[in-house]
Symmetry: C2
Subunit: 222 residues, 2 copies
Amino acid sequence: MEDPAGPHAFSAPHREGVYKAIFERRDIRAQFVDTPVEDELLDRVLLAAHHAPSVGFMQPWNFVVIRDPATKERVHAAFLRAHEESAAMFDEKRRRKYCSFKLEGIREAPVNLLVTCDRSRSGPVVIGRTVQPDMDIYSTVCAVQNLWLAARAEGLGVGWVSIIHEQDLREIFGLPKEIEVIAYLCLGHVSHFPERPELEKAGWLPRLELEKLVFREQWGQR
Amino acid sequence: MEDPAGPHAFSAPHREGVYKAIFERRDIRAQFVDTPVEDELLDRVLLAAHHAPSVGFMQPWNFVVIRDPATKERVHAAFLRAHEESAAMFDEKRRRKYCSFKLEGIREAPVNLLVTCDRSRSGPVVIGRTVQPDMDIYSTVCAVQNLWLAARAEGLGVGWVSIIHEQDLREIFGLPKEIEVIAYLCLGHVSHFPERPELEKAGWLPRLELEKLVFREQWGQR
């Protein structure tokens, strides 16, 4: 570990923990095991989510915890429909590879979690959302990332299922109009955490060089 | 620290580090000091951002590092225009309080950072973005949150300035059409990290009870 950069830096083990969670977090689809997820553990990662930054301190998120296999089956059926549609969008060669990937663990994960954003929370005028109206959505995404990192630290795998139509989730969970779906997550203990992201390992796309993504002072300037 | 929940949980000090970053992260506006931010330190937090989850492994982000005071002045002028507009949206009583808050540290922070999302990266068909087109934006928000937590561990403050029109930032930084602004951040060492979020401390809004935000199986069900 590098020397601490200043008086407010964490101790070396605490800093290591943060970077370890960031670098070893994975999107889990195929590695769920059926060890139950205790409520206390779930509460800890939900509390981490709840301490995300939120625009104007509006805390716009809600969490629906799903353990009922019948609900998971309905969500999985909605995934299958969207997955079939999606497969048709890839060209022949990519499609075969696309279809070989396992992209969700909805039925295997002991816990599913729907994360939503209440766009009406705390009234119509929110500090910091006056000229950037999507800031409440971004706050909710930050909550997902907090949860994901806390889960990794707890040894709990998380997968984000995005191949599913929002409308299907709205109907399955009975969401009111002002509530927007942000994420559908699968959570559970895992056999292992893959060393690298699965799409990287499968050669779908390479890890980009960070250096090429960073500009100085102006767009495109190095 | 609780007992580890399973074989893949981090050690107690590593888990503590993760929760410490999550609970002690703050949106910094008024506490920046002029200690320089070294490139090595900035590289570490950018690498943390670059290891965010990304839909279809597209890594859609770019980072523009700004240290030039003249550029910061232009951004600050754009903030002031949006801030004035925003103030007019609050009722009389709220407006006075709104105007008393310090909401950005653009000129005081040694480093400003523009975080963008390249919606065209890796081509038109992206795994996981086929039916939820905003997933690339959400990936970029996850990168912001990774950076924010890594920065906290390093003792570096971060503030997200959202009271600014995207169009102003597009012009100042010369962004191409397919590039979307996600976040304008201020980074620097700080005099201290406030114990609680400033809007909570000022009594603008209270911390919500997590329990009331969590439902079971269906929306609204406890």
